[in-house]
């Protein structure tokens, strides 16, 4: 059914027809007509943020915890430029978002009008695709196309820039099914010959490993289910990137833990020593590979990815399968079963024996203290006290993020939201609000460092206004912990600008925002503090004063291969050589 309506009304109608329930946004001059339409309806809920970056991270949290497309609405100029960090974050982590921006009227574009910015120009490199709509007749179709692009193939953020006169003008509305079919139709099924080649390798492999990534989560819950079936049926060990945690349950018997720069000893050594690496929806990020020539030097490598440009980008692989992880896993299981469910039992038993040896290192052990709270201890207690619940965790970026990945266990996909690719400090608080809006009754915890948390702390106002009972678990070391750690290991202990003075009193800050806060500084009070936080019905800030100079281990120092990890008690003096210092 096509109808005549204004562009602004079309926007709201198209969002409804796309199944959007929540929009995160901030009004301004160039989007007033759309806000007027939002005012006059009740189907779409609008969450008023405090800063546009917060809106995008909230939409990311919403999208990652639901598998739906997140939706953002901001004004022209500064509204759009403030959204850029969030869009880049979503692009790096493949999160589906549709961001609508207002723009000055078409006849003013290019005149340096008030709050004018070249939004499509600025966001071209940080979106999967973007559009400037100059004609109301094209608006509905463009929005439908935008949702299609955001969720198809490798998901990502898209942006639609809508000039104010286009919002006021009348045009014909077309429903999603009336919109023309996009030529953008990424291939979902993997090549069956390549899948069979991989099965042949799996049948013979003595030391196989699954290396899974965010692609498994993005593919949907079915992919995680298939992964579990395949891992359990083959008996192969499985490790995951930061982005893929939860696809295989942390309590699963084949789980090795996270790999990478701060990954587990057994996971990294298994990657280094394997003879068959099966990459499912991960992208050989530099935090994973370490030094490229020494990355898993004796293994055959297979790579399943929906994005052909991810394959052979960093690491040359022997078997390349372009397709959706879920579809490929389904075919992989079928072919493997049809060929008689073969694995190299003898080799596998020896391989597990070796892995058990590595596990004995107990690489996550740390020296606990009776006096000060160790960050690892705080997270261990958080894990113990929340394990049984359907819990969603977001994080900021830094040491606390790595400790959270090490010490918290995820049993299901879409329960762990963290900024991986871009490493955006300030991500966790708004993301936790987005998650809570999607799951009003769930326990949502943002594991934060105080420095990251301050970057978007204004969003506590959003949490309070919309009664999102998010728990802010701040591991406060009064330091930029990861920067401090690198300065200690790489820059002669010259701690340049890596501490914060005059931090706010987080308890008073919570009160100022109209929520509750508490401080804990003794290990013996840790459990009570966590329980009080969980049981409180409303947004809560827990200021956990932790050991100030704790380092995050294990660590693959820059410039070293996987098999030369630093463990907690190792001497770190001179561990990183000059070449490593140039690396991030």
């Amino acid at each position: 059914m096509s109808r005549q309506m204004t562009g602004a009304k079309m926007v709201v109608q198209a969002l409804k027809d796309q199944g959007v329930e929540v929009v995160f946004g901030y009004p301004g001059g160039a989007v007033l007509p759309i806000y007027d339409e939002i005012f006059q309806q009740n189907d779409i809920r609008h969450i008023l943020v405090r800063h546009e970056q917060g809106a995008v991270h909230m939409a990311e949290g919403y999208a990652r915890s639901t598998g739906k497309v997140g939706c953002v609405l901001v004004t022209s100029g500064p509204g759009a430029t403030n959204a850029v960090t969030g869009l880049t974050d979503a692009l790096m982590d493949s999160i589906p978002l549709v961001c609508l921006t207002g723009q000055v009227p078409t006849f003013m574009i290019g005149t340096d009008g008030f709050q004018e910015a070249d939004t499509v120009g600025i966001t071209r490199p940080c979106t999967k695709h973007n559009w400037l709509v100059k004609d109301t007749e094209q608006l509905a179709e463009t929005i439908h196309q935008a949702f299609h692009v955001a969720r198809s193939g490798r998901p990502g953020p898209v942006l639609i820039d809508i000039p104010k006169d286009v919002q006021f003008a009348t045009g014909t509305y077309r429903a999603p099914r009336e919109a023309k079919v996009s030529h953008y139709q990424p291939k979902m099924k993997g090549d069956i010959a390549a899948i069979t080649a991989l099965v042949e390798l799996m049948e013979k492999a003595e030391r196989p490993i699954f290396y899974t990534g965010g692609g498994v989560i993005n593919s949907g819950p079915a992919a995680s289910q298939l992964l579990r079936e395949l891992v359990d049926a083959t008996g192969f060990p499985v490790t995951s990137t930061l982005m893929g945690l939860g696809a295989y349950p942390a309590s699963g018997k084949n789980w090795l833990g996270m790999l990478g720069m701060h990954g587990l000893y057994e996971a990294n050594l298994a990657m280094h020593g394997c003879d068959l690496m099966i990459n499912l929806g991960a992208r050989f990020d530099d935090r994973i590979t370490g030094r490229i020539p020494d990355f898993s030097p004796r293994s055959k490598k297979a790579h399943v990815d929906i994005d052909p440009s991810s394959i052979n980008k960093v690491i040359h692989v022997d078997v390349a399968i372009t397709g959706d992880v879920g579809h490929v896993l389904e075919d992989l299981l079928k072919v493997w079963k049809a060929r008689g469910r073969k694995v190299n039992k003898e080799g596998l038993a020896k391989w597990w024996g070796q892995i058990e040896q590595w596990k004995l290192k107990k690489c996550l052990s740390y020296r606990n203290s009776q006096k000060t709270i160790k960050p690892q201890y705080a997270l261990e207690r958080l894990e113990a006290l929340t394990r049984g619940r359907d819990r969603y965790v977001t994080t900021e970026v830094g040491q606390h993020q790595m400790w959270a990945a090490q010490f918290l266990g995820f049993e299901a996909p879409n329960r762990w939201m963290t900024s991986g690719g871009l490493g955006t400090m300030g991500y966790g608080l708004p993301a936790s609000i987005g998650v809570q809006i999607a799951h009003p009754d769930a326990l949502v915890i943002n594991v934060a460092g105080e420095a990251s948390w301050l970057m978007n702390m204004q969003e506590m106002g959003t949490a309070v206004q919309f009664r999102a009972p998010v728990k802010q678990f701040i591991l406060n070391n009064e330091r930029l912990g990861m920067v401090r750690q690198w300065q200690q290991l790489l820059h002669g202990e010259r701690y340049s600008q890596s501490w914060s003075e005059s931090l706010p009193d987080f308890v008073k800050l919570a009160e100022a925002f109209g929520c509750k806060g508490a401080k804990v500084d003794s290990p013996k009070d840790m459990d009570d503090a966590i329980m009080a936080m969980i049981e409180y019905d409303g947004p809560y800030i827990l200021d956990v004063l932790v050991e100030k100079h704790e380092n995050c281990f294990p660590m693959i120092p820059s410039g070293k291969p996987h098999n030369e990890m630093l463990l907690g008690d190792a001497s770190t003096e001179g561990a990183i050589q000059a070449g490593g210092a140039v690396l991030v």
Partner: protein
């Protein structure tokens, strides 16, 4: 030595491969990219090349299917085989891109460029310029008593050679279209 004082490629102790990737053979490839002729599509393609550090030797673009709003971008690029593969994959995943053809590997192709040369001079030099233009089958498309504008179509090498010959004869301006290319045969 300060810990940061390292030269490119001088250390093997790095998580990034610091060896000069250009040590591998550099290849020249001609790519034909078929795109929707929508606003910003050229910026998207060029931005991909600059943002990811790829080279452009030449680039031509024009709408080739007015009804289908389809444009053809012909881009000549250089890189190692791995980089060329990445360029094609990265182009392929742009939403308005329909097809990417590597004419250099897909079999023989014809490559042509059009160029205009303004040559000024009088007397012997002027006669010599006209004589050479005839040999190169360049057309005179404008002439005054002091100047010619020659038009020539050919491979980039032929145009380079002609420009080289014209230089001592009073060449003062060159305009080149960049390479347009099509595969040979049906």
């Amino acid at each position: 030595m300060s810990p940061l004082n390292i030269k490119k490629g001088s250390t093997s102790h790095s998580a990034y491969d610091l060896r000069d990737p250009n040590a591998q053979a550099i290849e020249r490839h001609t790519l034909a990219v078929l795109v929707d002729n929508e606003a910003g599509v050229l910026a998207r393609v060029i931005g991909l090349f600059s943002g990811r550090g790829y080279n452009i030797d030449s680039l031509t673009v024009a709408e080739v299917d007015h009804q289908g709003h389809r444009s053809r971008i012909t881009v000549v690029t250089r890189g190692t085989p791995a980089v060329i593969e990445q360029i094609k994959a990265q182009l392929g995943r742009l939403v308005p891109v329909h097809d990417v053809h590597d004419l250099t590997v897909e079999g023989p192709a014809v490559e042509r460029e059009l160029a205009l040369f303004k040559v000024t001079g009088t007397g012997e030099k002027r006669i010599e310029a006209l004589r050479l233009a005839e040999i190169f089958r360049a057309n005179v498309v404008d002439s005054t008593l002091q100047s010619f504008v020659f038009e020539m179509t050919g491979t980039s090498e032929k145009i380079d050679a002609f420009a080289e010959l014209m230089r001592p004869l009073g060449l003062c301006d060159v305009a080149r279209t960049g390479v347009a290319a099509l595969s040979r045969g049906a």
